[in-house]
């Protein structure tokens, strides 16, 4: 069976099949190259892989929006697995695509809105500070992703927000 994964901006087409009757042996074919791997799951998100004698531990970091962080040797690679297989991400948290002309500025972390630096109708430049959110005692200035006009201010000063809460919409 084939699984499509994107890592490092590049799509990988990966064919997986059992290699033998021995339980952990898995044959993986990438770009026409077939390898037999010994794959042992330490737990649901940790696997020990032995590839022709080369061993590594791989740690899966569950993220939002269909992304999984794959940690190998201290580095984390962001991977996007094609839909239709495992979907460990709850439907409510999946990316809601915004209409092309709108940009929602969302809080990247839970916190409290300290200041709103713009008003509806203001024109803003890319990277201009829009909202200040306090989290973990630090003030974090969130910036406009691009040039535009402030269409809507969704939150009030003092509001407690969650990660992903839309704060301001720029058109």
């Amino acid at each position: 069976m084939n699984v499509n994964v994107t890592v490092g901006g590049r799509p990988w087409k990966i064919a997986i099949e059992p290699a033998s009757e021995r339980p952990r042996q898995v044959a993986v074919t990438v770009d026409g190259r077939r390898r037999v791997l010994d794959v042992s799951w330490i737990d649901a998100d940790t696997l020990s892989m032995i590839d022709g004698g080369t061993a590594c531990e791989i740690r899966m970091h569950r993220r939002d929006n269909g992304v999984v962080g794959v940690e190998i040797g201290g580095r984390i690679y962001e991977a996007v697995v094609q839909k239709g297989f495992r979907d460990p991400f709850s439907a409510s948290r999946s990316a809601k695509t915004d209409p092309g002309t709108f940009s929602a500025i969302k809080s990247p972390m839970p916190g409290r809105v300290l200041r709103v630096l713009v008003a509806v109708g203001d024109s803003v430049a890319a990277h201009q500070g829009v909202v200040v959110v306090e989290a973990m005692k630090m003030e974090n200035e969130l910036r406009a992703p691009r040039d535009g006009i402030v269409k809507e201010i969704v939150v009030a000063v003092g509001a407690t927000v969650e990660a992903g809460t839309v704060l301001v919409v720029v058109e």
């Binding site: 069976m1 699984v3 994964v5 994107t6 890592v7 490092g8 590049r10 990988w12 990966i14 997986i16 099949e17 059992p18 339980p23 952990r24 898995v26 993986v28 990438v30 791997l37 794959v39 042992s40 799951w41 330490i42 649901a44 998100d45 696997l47 892989m49 590839d51 791989i58 740690r59 899966m60 970091h61 569950r62 999984v68 794959v70 940690e71 190998i72 040797g73 201290g74 580095r75 984390i76 690679y77 991977a79 697995v81 297989f85 495992r86 460990p88 990247p108 972390m109 839970p110 916190g111 500070g129 200040v132 306090e134 989290a135 973990m136 005692k137 630090m138 003030e139 974090n140 200035e141």
Partner: protein, 490 residues
Amino acid sequence: MNKLLVANRGEIAVRVIRTCQEMGLGTVAVYSECDRNALHVRLADEAHAIGPDRASESYLRIDRLIDVARRSGADGVHPGYGFLAENAAFAEACAEAGLTFIGPDPAAMRAMGSKTAARAIASAAGVPVVPGGDDPEAVGYPLLVKAVAGGGGKGMRAVRAPADLASAVQMARSEAQSSFGDDRVYFERLLDKPRHIEVQLLGDAYGTIVPFVERECSIQRRHQKLVEETPSPSVTPDLRGRLMAAAEAIGRAARYTSAGTIEFLVDTAGEFYFLEMNTRLQVEHPITEEVTGLDFVRAQIEIARGMPIAAITAGLKSGAIDANGHAIEVRVYAENPDEGFLPSPGLITRLRAPSGPGIRDDSGAYEGWTVPTAYDPLVSKVIAWAPDRPRAVRRMVRALQEYDVRGIRTTIEFCRGVVGSPAFAAGEFDTTYVDRLLDQNGRTAANDERMEETAAIAAALWAKMGTRTTTPFSGPDSPWAQRARAESLR
């Protein structure tokens, strides 16, 4: 002193409790609502609620802390760092309540805790200070806005042009107010590519001041330290002697007691300037512990009990002053380096700390604990000791690869890139190093296609594995579980 109230939370509260337990002292923890299940509460002999999550309603409430001390029968208070650690009014309130405050005398704390008064004391002691004052135009640009009561990068903002001054002052004031309860700020010239070097001091009740070998703290991002080491790879024996003598002179002028740290900036010409004094235990104190064999929390407690420093350091092989080997600390923050180091609080789904030779993990976290949003994002500190710097560097890289933290984003991977970089190995960096690294593209290592392929394979296997339910009772290596997975691939 028989029972200590630990007026703090997180890793430093755990750190203090550990020494108290080794000394046979009773420990009293305090906690806000969201910290009920925090590690320091689990470890202490007693624990008392002091209010809601917001620090100003709990960890900064002097009245509630004194009340807990009275009710629990504690006779000493250790403030840790942050919160009330450098608050002279708290030290005085402890004294009035008959409690021994583990820290400097309130007068010394007040003098050195005010950045402006400390600069005057240093100047009078013959130590050069960074040009600065109350008038931004006189200081000139680029400059730093700094909280008078500040520390730990809070209440501090760099300003490159006059147009940005007003908003920077507002942010600094507001942060300083919420962190220290004091919104006064002043201005300091921003030096070009300085190194941040600091000298740990111990002072006792008999006027003895002992300086320790310097700590190099130049690996920082927006004035928040990420990596510290001792000794500094850039400090010559001559500069070391002058830094230690200057630190000792300032400590003596301040009639300083207990543990404190003199911070300096060293410019590219090797000239140094007094920056500020921290009148408390520093976050990075463990690296000095590793190279001296001294326990600084224990030393603070013994000094508060009236023991002379000579008695505290007696029996240490190194004589405390001479560093033995090399130590590096990496701070693990719950922050996301891919999103400008924004806080990343939340549930820690997996946690396995590094171990093995020469590794120490000072942590306030555990698997299944939720990092709260209300406080500083420091989760733990990894300390590596080795006989020399190259071995300490490799040991730290090894430890960071071992460190398994999932559920939250952390600075582990980023710091591994920094410590493993050729520039770090060569000791060629200054306080602008991390920010310049981030400007380049945020990644510390080039992409490796072979590793990306392995990552893609792992992601595919993981996604595929999840399409069949595995039996939780059969264990990872059970032939039945493995067979079921193999079947699922058909």
